[in-house]
């Protein structure tokens, strides 16, 4: 098992390197760079000399391969460089926003799992009954309604019902849990409900499949109570495909909160990313993408390890 983890960790290197190459060169294809955006942004006339000097300062005049290798060399030293826009270290820029984004993603995943697993299971066990129809409508709606619309409705409802708006300033959970939750629970609910819809559909179909298995019939023939059959015999098997979806969606949330953050005016990674792209802040964009790629890779690894923990047939070498 340990060798397997070590192997998987080694394999993340080529994966991340591939992602690095892609994002580095794709960014260079986009017209314009940070200096033009910064200095000529408002139609100001700046001499070419100034621009060239600025380019030299940021290292943008060097050949692309050199820029690339120096970025990667920096990453290996855990030094991703300085933001081209603000000039502050990328680490600082990101670490300010990261706790918020992680918290929303984790809370979203928790909410989703708590809703989706019982909902999908109930739906499967009472297949084609009114309960099933109701839950299926709920999950379809959850999938169909865009997050921004749902977010706006939620804000408006809060305003209309309680004449209250969630705070805009981020307070860390350990400083003031109530202030923290009163800001972040709403975006977590918004993403969690869509997330739950996806997972619930998976749980439903996988529970339906598992309940048809021969070993469920065996368990019934043993005279076990239905509750035991569902919890012990069915759920463990049915959770396997659901875990994959939960993991993938979680990784997606880490990078995909752009719209929700916008709606709730949260200063998270998603917003930082959008700003960085708008500013052509190559260094920041590159590093955010690398971060998201790493989250995907490690979530997948975690999902695979969880699989092995649940299913004894899976033994990694």
């Amino acid at each position: 098992m340990l060798t397997y983890v070590a192997k998987r960790l080694l394999m993340t290197i080529p994966t991340l390197l591939g992602a690095a190459v892609l994002i580095f060169f794709m960014l260079r294809v986009v017209p314009g760079d940070v200096i033009e955006v910064k200095l000529r942004g408002d139609g100001a006339s700046v001499t070419q000399d100034v621009i060239d000097a600025e380019r030299r300062r940021l290292g943008l005049d060097k050949p692309l391969p050199e820029q690339f290798t120096s970025w990667i060399a920096g990453l290996t030293r855990l030094d991703p460089g300085l933001s081209m826009w603000t000039g502050k270290p990328v680490v600082d820029e990101m670490s300010v926003r990261l706790p918020l984004s992680i918290q929303v993603a984790v809370m979203g995943a928790l909410i989703a799992t708590l809703i989706a697993v019982p909902m999908g299971t109930l739906s499967a066990l009472y297949r084609d009954s009114p309960i099933d129809y109701l839950l299926r409508i709920f999950s379809l709606v959850g999938l169909a309604v865009p997050a921004f619309w749902f977010g706006m409705v939620m804000i408006l409802l809060l305003l209309w019902l309680f004449n209250w708006l969630p705070p805009v300033i981020y307070t860390p959970f350990h400083v003031d849990p109530i202030a923290n939750l009163s800001q972040l629970i709403w975006p977590a609910l918004v993403v969690g409900i869509r997330y739950a819809a996806v997972v619930a559909r998976m749980v439903r179909s996988s529970v339906i499949e598992v309940m048809k298995e021969d070993y469920i019939r065996t368990a019934r023939a043993k005279g076990l109570a239905e509750k035991v059959i569902i919890i012990r015999h069915a759920m463990k098997n049915a959770m396997l495909p659901a875990i994959t979806v939960i993991g993938l969606e979680f990784a997606f949330l880490m990078g995909g909160l752009v719209v929700t953050e916008q709606v709730f005016n949260l200063n998270g990674i998603g917003q930082l990313f959008v700003q960085a792209v708008a500013h052509r802040d190559f260094v920041l964009v590159q590093n955010i993408v690398m971060f998201i790629a790493a989250v995907f890779v490690f979530t997948n690894l975690a999902v695979d390890l969880l699989y092995a923990a649940i299913d004894p047939r899976i033994r990694y070498r």
Binding site: Y215, A225, K236
Partner: protein
């Protein structure tokens, strides 16, 4: 409630003390009266079971026999009240168990009896155990649920149970998961689970259908032994008449949802009094009789249970049909204890009606020894590398799926290749079809080594008939597209019209109606689909057809039809077959020569009659012993030797003779060198050092 169980448990914990004997006559333990089961689906109502009645005594073994879809499994599930909900329901009848009608119990009361008083063993040991729970967890469950045992007691009892069903190293087994065990071992675990709470009745639904013959014999011997020793009533559901003859005391034959004949095993086999039973017994090739030229078959197919014919349900397929058959016959006694639902049962049972079809023609000519050789396989080896052990640099192990196999097949000949699953017979088939690379050795077809030819040309000359007619035909192609495709691909016929004409010709050859060309596979029955598969194989006029278990997925009555068709086509078109199968009787019926394989090697190769009359290799002898024949008198007369153990893992092949670990004759020398295939008589080759040439 617990006390009597513990008493019985102590008795069972000392295996082997009570002598095995015939069942003592006792009162009826289970009585089923006029059971009706319906499955309600969107398409209509399937009457799966109609008016079935029977009873079982303690210690008795009752067989429920019939082809797929006749209602035998539905009957069993109805007894357990485990019919698939919400479609399946019992609409009428009573099931008296120890005087209580199970159908009237509440779900909770029924649950108390399931697994404690009545347990059930299912067909598929591979899927009937929960893959994510350990053997111990699954085995202890009923003990804790029904007998209120604590964990330690349940564990101790589980170890006893695993020992009782003959599993070695029971303590370690408890920690293992189902995927660590072979099919035979899993079925033993299922039996242990069934026995856990000392049930009075065990229902076994095709308990050995998924297992190899030697394992099948082990499992059934075990079940009979336990039933006799612990006085458990056993209901065995099967389509295999050999099993019925060997193990059953009493037999119930079902056809199209009804019981058509009942009696003790001797009466059913010796004086069959329903034409369906007669047909079933006659349509299987038999090891205990001279080989017939043609198998007698039951023509046609069982009726659709949604739209049943009026009158006797077997009448449309019955050779003895008379006008009276338009009215329903009821199940009446033809002699004491022997019942039949046929108007002419009286004539059948006295023999007044010539029931058995006589062998229609002379024996098939034995192997055309002078015909040219079409296929030569020399020293064929196919090894697979698999990763073994842990860590990064642990070496790969080699699975020797086929290890040095040589044979040839002549024009117009059928070479039968028999062996248990995993012996490498299908790998040889794939190698001849050029679907798989070979590790060493050569395959020469029509004088040309297939390795030198373009794969396309080799594939034209070699065709295949697959085992499963349900998954081997593309569901989105019509029959004429399926058969015509190879003709078009190889430009075998110049234009669409000629292809169409050829498809029609092929349909005629395999006994399908011309209009079936436009049908899709799901509209055909299993037998018809297999005929389509045969027509497709014939289309390109191949040199050799590899038949890979072509009848093992079919019902008995259909199996006979397909075997006859393959036989006829061979005579008419001079076809050459490599016939791969695990059923020794089927192989004997169709083959000219037979090769017996074990763990990648040929153990014995001889002319069919020589091999079956005079099997010399201990493995061949064990295989023949393990296969039950459908005659209770013969079966009672022999005490089958049961092969010990299981097929070793092909990764760790035994040293020397691969069979030495299971061989009753093995001595030290056997594990020292691999025995060569020697000729001990004209055309009779054996790979065993213990066999003297005669």
């Amino acid at each position: 409630m617990i006390a009597p169980n513990t008493l019985r448990m102590e008795k069972s914990a000392s295996p082997g003390l009570v002598p095995v004997g015939p069942p003592s006559p006792g009162r009826a333990l289970l009585t089923v009266n006029d059971l009706h089961v319906h499955f309600v689906q969107a398409g209509g109502v399937t009457r799966a079971v109609e008016g079935v009645s029977f009873s079982v005594r303690q210690g008795q073994i009752l067989a429920l026999v019939g082809e797929s879809g006749c209602g035998k499994s539905a009957t069993a599930l109805a007894l357990m009240r485990l019919l698939a909900r919400p479609a399946g329901r019992v609409v009428k009848g009573e099931v008296l168990f120890d005087g209580v009608d199970l159908l009237k119990l509440s779900e909770a009361e029924m649950r108390e009896r399931r697994g404690r008083d009545i347990s059930m063993i299912f067909q598929e040991p591979m899927t009937s155990l929960n893959p994510v729970l350990s053997i111990g967890e699954q085995l202890m469950e009923p003990l804790i649920a029904h007998l209120g045992m604590n964990k330690q007691a349940a564990r101790a009892r589980s170890i006893d149970l695993l020992t009782m069903v003959g599993l070695t190293d029971p303590e370690r087994r408890l920690e293992q998961y189902p995927h660590h065990l072979s099919g035979g071992m899993r079925q033993r675990v299922m039996i242990a689970m069934g026995l856990a709470c000392n049930p009075k009745l065990i229902i076994a639904d095709e308990p050995t259908t998924a297992l190899d013959v030697t394992i099948q014999a082990q499992i059934l011997e075990l079940m009979r032994d336990l039933s006799r020793r612990l006085n458990i009533a056993l209901i065995i559901i099967t389509h295999n008449l050999g099993i019925v003859a060997r193990y059953a005391d009493s037999v119930n034959v079902m056809y199209a949802a009804r019981l058509v004949e009942r009696g003790d095993a001797d009466a059913i086999f010796a004086r069959s009094s329903h034409p369906y039973t007669v047909g079933l017994i006659d349509s299987i090739p038999r090891l205990d009789r001279p080989r017939q030229g043609r198998l007698s078959t039951i023509e046609g197919m069982p009726p659709d249970l949604m739209a049943l014919p009026a009158g006797c349900r077997f009448a449309p397929r019955c050779p003895h049909r008379v006008d009276k058959c338009d009215h329903d016959p009821s199940l009446v006694a033809v002699e004491p204890g022997h019942l039949s639902a046929c108007w002419r049962a009286g004539e059948l049972v006295t023999g007044a009606l010539q029931a058995r079809a006589t062998a229609t023609d002379a024996l098939l000519s034995i192997g055309p020894a002078t015909a040219p050789v079409r296929v030569t396989v020399q020293e064929l080896k196919r090894h697979f590398k698999v990763s073994a052990g842990r860590g990064w640099f642990s070496g790969a192990a080699t699975v020797k799926a086929v290890d040095g196999v040589s044979f040839d097949i002549r024009q117009g000949e059928t070479l039968g290749l028999v062996g248990e699953s995993g012996c490498g017979k299908s790998t040889i088939g794939r190698a001849i079809l050029n679907l798989d690379a070979v590790t060493a050795g050569s395959i020469i077809i029509d004088g040309q080594n297939i390795a030198d030819k373009r794969a396309r040309e080799v594939r034209r000359r070699t065709q295949v008939i697959f085992q499963d007619p349900f998954s081997s035909l593309n569901p989105r192609m019509s029959v004429s597209e399926i058969i015509g495709e190879p003709l078009a691909v190889y430009k075998f016929e110049p234009d669409a019209q000629r292809i169409e004409a050829r498809v029609q010709e092929l349909l005629g050859q395999v006994g399908l109606m011309p209009y079936m060309a436009e049908r899709y596979p799901h509209e055909l029955s299993g037998g018809q689909r297999q005929r389509v598969g045969i027509a497709r194989a014939l289309a390109l006029k191949p040199s050799i057809i590899v038949c890979d278990e072509p009848v093992s997925a079919l019902d008995v009555s259909i199996q006979g039809q397909i075997i006859n068709l393959l036989d006829e086509l061979q005579q008419r078109l001079g076809l050459t077959y490599l016939f791969i199968a695990h059923d020794l009787a089927v192989v004997r019926h169709i083959s000219h020569r037979v090769a017996v394989m074990y763990l990648g090697r040929i153990m014995e190769l001889a002319d069919r009659d020589e091999l079956y009359r005079n099997p010399r290799h201990p493995y061949t002898q064990l295989l023949l012993d393990a296969a039950p024949v459908p005659d209770p008198v013969i079966e009672r007369g022999r005490r089958p030797r049961v092969a010990k153990g299981e097929l070793p893992s092909p990764i760790n092949q035994p040293k020397g003779c691969v069979f030495s670990t299971r061989c009753p004759m093995a001595t030290v020398e056997c594990s020292q060198a691999v025995p060569a295939l020697r000729q001990i008589a004209d055309g009779h080759y054996v790979a065993c050092i213990k066999v003297e040439p005669c």
